[in-house]
């Protein structure tokens, strides 16, 4: 670094694909490698956060073209879990970089075809409402209150009980049905502008504080609307009640947790769900609790095989710990773990934290 046997590259022209301050932050120390699930699977630098940042830099300076197969593959192989962020000494905001990467590569025809119908479905608040109309979620024709429950898009369809149980835990939450998707799915899949727009629109539909039952939505919304207005359920409940220790029942179930990546790495919320679980059972920390389960939003649909490989370790640990329950705090993790547990025929039940707390209340 202090002498060059070869001269450093002349300052290259930038294409403007990435925000310069974000891309320049990385000091290439490599501390992110052991935190990355896809590096753990492959052991190949190219599939690590540092490797991907070097691909982004090559793209930015024109060393590699947009249609470079490795660039394309890695932009999609990355889970976008952001586990590399808390271990980064230089404070690289990798999640933002991945969103810019996909916004550049996937806008238009580059997007994986499997996510297109998903984005279409949640793109319009009316469609989101229509999807949920036959399901018994908490939404109703009421006006927003000072604190509003976000119903989610796929969550209201797949797991309508989550919002109902959240209401059961906190009657003061208003749940107006007239609300759309938060836009996280768009932002993570190459439609950054639309993702921000949908978040703004949701912010207008739900003025005041928004409480969400999905960590991924929470991090995206907080990124657009600010952390003061957006709270994830466990974070909000914990702040409301404090770490009250519940009545230990005669039989306390053994309960694990699957962190939501963006809740943990994006919003820094991880202690709260653990303390809430400890009120109702014996909390068991799985070694991989903080690692991505492979659900990763639409990842499980776009790359089912890689997604299953990432999940395997989690299932091994759940089986090994012989848990009664595993709690989740995000709809994508819910689906991922539920299917995995079923596939392996484990006795462990997967529940959203809201369902868990409401069920024993």
């Amino acid at each position: 670094m202090t002498t060059a046997a070869i001269a450093p590259d002349p300052v290259p022209e930038r294409r403007g694909v990435f925000t310069a301050e974000l891309l320049d932050r990385c000091i290439s120390c490599g501390f992110c490698l052991p935190a990355c699930p896809t590096y753990a699977l492959t052991g190949v630098e190219t599939s690590s956060p540092r490797g991907r940042i070097n691909l982004m830099r090559a793209l930015e300076t024109g060393v590699l073209p947009d249609d470079d197969p490795t660039v394309q593959e890695e932009s999609s192989f990355c889970l976008g879990c952001r586990a590399c962020e808390p271990v980064c000494p230089a404070g690289v905001q990798y999640g933002e970089l991945v969103e810019e990467w996909r916004d550049h590569l996937w806008n238009g025809r580059g997007r994986p075809w499997k996510v297109r119908p998903l984005l279409w479905a949640v793109d319009s608040p009316r469609r989101v409402r229509a999807m949920g109309i036959v399901r018994r979620h908490a939404g109703r024709g009421e006006a927003p209150g000072p604190v509003n429950l976000m119903l989610g898009c796929f969550e209201r369809v797949l797991y309508p009980r989550v919002s109902r149980d959240a209401r059961k835990l906190a009657g003061e939450l208003a749940a107006p049905a007239a609300q759309g998707c938060c836009g996280a799915l768009h932002a993570h899949n190459g439609e950054l502008g639309r993702g921000r727009q949908l978040a703004q629109r949701l912010g207008e539909a739900l003025p005041g504080t928004i409480v969400t039952t999905s960590g991924g939505c929470g991090a995206h919304l907080a990124g657009v609307l600010g952390g003061d207005r957006v709270k994830e359920l466990s974070q909000w409940l914990h702040a409301r009640d404090g770490a009250v220790v519940g009545n230990p029942t005669a039989a306390r179930p053994r309960i694990g947790l699957q962190d939501s990546c963006h809740l943990r790495h994006g919003l820094g919320v991880w202690r709260e769900p653990r303390e809430l679980i400890a009120r109702v059972g014996e909390y068991v920390e799985l070694p991989s609790a903080a690692g991505c389960c492979g659900g990763a939003g639409s990842y499980a649909i776009v790359r089912p095989q890689d997604s299953a490989r990432v999940l395997d370790r989690h299932l091994d640990e759940i089986a090994g710990a012989d848990l009664d329950l595993v709690a989740v705090v995000n709809a994508g993790c819910y689906r991922q773990l539920q299917q995995g547990v079923k596939r392996r025929r484990l006795r462990t039940r997967v529940l959203h934290l809201a369902e868990l707390l409401a069920g024993v209340k």
């Binding site: 060059a4 070869i6 290439s28 052991p34 052991g43 190949v44 691909l55 490795t70 230089a90």
Partner: protein
């Protein structure tokens, strides 16, 4: 970076050794293996190979040797002297698939592992049996044992426990010509032949490729304790270090931060440091709790005697963690000031630390640079760290000039241009100044004996 096709037939021959899935020649992969953790340095390889066994390594080496293709062995790529940058192209041999801890023996106090095991994994495997693998370089969570041995990595515990070379009992290595040799083994005493395992330790991938390491372990200490002291200037802190060592204490930790670092850490981490102080000294001991208490007391006393403005001994593990936080945050804090951070490791005898750090500040002023210095006060290993504004076009050139002067001064003070990062690509030009022409010629003859065709990490040590 120029784009050229893979040399004819190279990919096919490599595939025949390691299998189709373990050779990468796609342009994207080559980009990501063209650098390590060293800023600014890069070189595009022709192929990246991931062998799984010593025999596969030997097969790849025979191909490289026969074709005269450079071969650069690599672990996780945390090198800070561009030692694993393939600046002449060739084959990058990545050893991360060879990641088995084969044995940890409490009865024999040894561990046997493959080179791609991460250092933290080895340390954890040892800890599970109540043992300690002492070398703890800053990159230990990412870096591999093989890389640490090839670079003779140091770390924070070096004063008391020594460096990586002090723990290498035996190696299995593949020569450039494809033969597999062993040097040393499980024995503490073994003088049969030249001490090649020690020669390979710190040889930076220029003599052979290590494929198995037998490492010495020690019983894990029962406990540890820490304290900190502020000084009006670094000279006082340095005198305190001398007084500590003269008082019969061999501490496990003696780390310092200069005023620039204290300011940077406080700006970033806001942990309540006294930014008016000229230096911060962090001291620690491990072992028997009674010994820890006695030694911390002695060290606090030594600091007070040498004019420390405040001394604090951590009463609890949480308080100890706060004390260590300042040191841990030094590099992150500096690296957040500007995106380009040049981290060096000039090392001087500990009696010259104050002199050296003052000189570093003088050089920084003269070249209009911001350089913070932190490091291992116990062993004189300094980390002057220049933070450069990318908008300042001349900054890189001025930093190179400044570090040239800093290295020259380190040599004058009976120090070294590198305590633990290695010569690599970036410090080769300063090496002769330190070693002299005769010594350099001997290095080259040794290199030629091991690697007659000059394929192993060419253009670096021994070239």
């Amino acid at each position: 970076m120029t784009t050229t096709a893979t040399p004819t037939g190279l990919r096919e021959r490599l595939e025949a050794v390691v299998g189709h899935d373990h050779v990468r020649t796609d342009e994207g992969a080559l980009v990501t293996f063209s650098m390590d953790a060293t800023p600014l340095e890069r070189g595009r390889p022709d192929a990246v190979v991931f062998p799984a066994t010593a025999d596969e390594v030997a097969g790849v080496l025979r191909i490289a040797n026969e074709r005269g293709v450079p071969l650069i062995a690599r672990g996780s790529g945390t090198n800070l002297s561009a030692g694993t940058v393939p600046h002449r192209g060739g084959i990058v041999l990545v050893l991360t698939r060879m990641n088995r801890v084969k044995e940890v023996s409490g009865a024999e106090l040894v561990a046997v592992c493959e080179p791609g095991v991460r250092t933290i994994e080895l340390a954890q495997a040892a800890a599970a049996k109540g043992l300690l693998f002492p070398p703890d370089p800053g990159s230990q969570s990412t870096a591999t044992v093989g890389g640490n041995v090839a670079e003779c990595a140091g770390g924070l515990r070096a004063l008391k426990y020594g460096v990586t070379r002090d723990y290498v009992l035996g190696v299995q290595a593949v020569l450039a010509t494809g033969e597999i040799i062993r040097s040393g083994g499980r024995l503490v005493k073994d003088v049969a032949g030249y001490d090649l395992r020690r020669l390979l330790c710190g040889s930076e991938g220029t003599l052979a490729v290590m494929t198995e390491l037998t490492l010495r372990l020690v019983p894990a200490p029962e406990a540890s304790g820490y304290g900190m002291a502020y000084f009006p200037d670094l000279a006082a802190a340095a005198r305190a270090v001398s007084r500590v060592l003269a008082s019969g204490v061999l501490p496990v930790t003696l780390e310092f931060l200069d005023q620039v670092c204290i300011g940077a850490v406080e700006d970033y981490a806001q942990i309540g440091l006294d930014t008016s102080a000229g230096a911060l000294l962090i001291f620690g001991q491990d072992g028997d709790p009674a010994v820890i208490e006695r030694d911390l007391e002695r060290m606090a006393q030594a600091c007070a005697t040498e004019g420390a403005t405040s001394v604090r001994i951590a009463e609890s593990p949480e308080a100890a963690s706060e004390v260590l936080e300042a040191r841990r945050a030094a590099l992150p804090s500096l690296s957040r000031l500007e995106p380009l951070t040049l981290l060096e490791d000039a090392t001087v005898p500990r009696s010259r630390i104050a002199e050296m750090v003052e000189y570093i500040q003088e050089v920084a002023r003269r070249h209009q640079l911001k350089i913070g210095t932190f490091g291992h006060a116990g062993d004189g290993n300094l980390h002057p760290t220049a933070v450069l504004d990318p908008a300042d076009e001349g900054a890189v050139g001025r930093a190179r000039a400044a570090f040239g002067e800093i290295f020259a001064r380190a040599i004058e003070l009976d120090g070294t241009i590198t305590g633990e990062h290695g010569i690599g690509l970036v410090k080769l030009r300063y090496l002769e100044r330190q070693l002299g022409a005769d010594h350099m010629a001997l290095l080259r003859r040794i290199k030629a004996a091991f690697d007659p065709n000059g394929i192993l990490n060419p253009g670096k040590l021994g070239s």
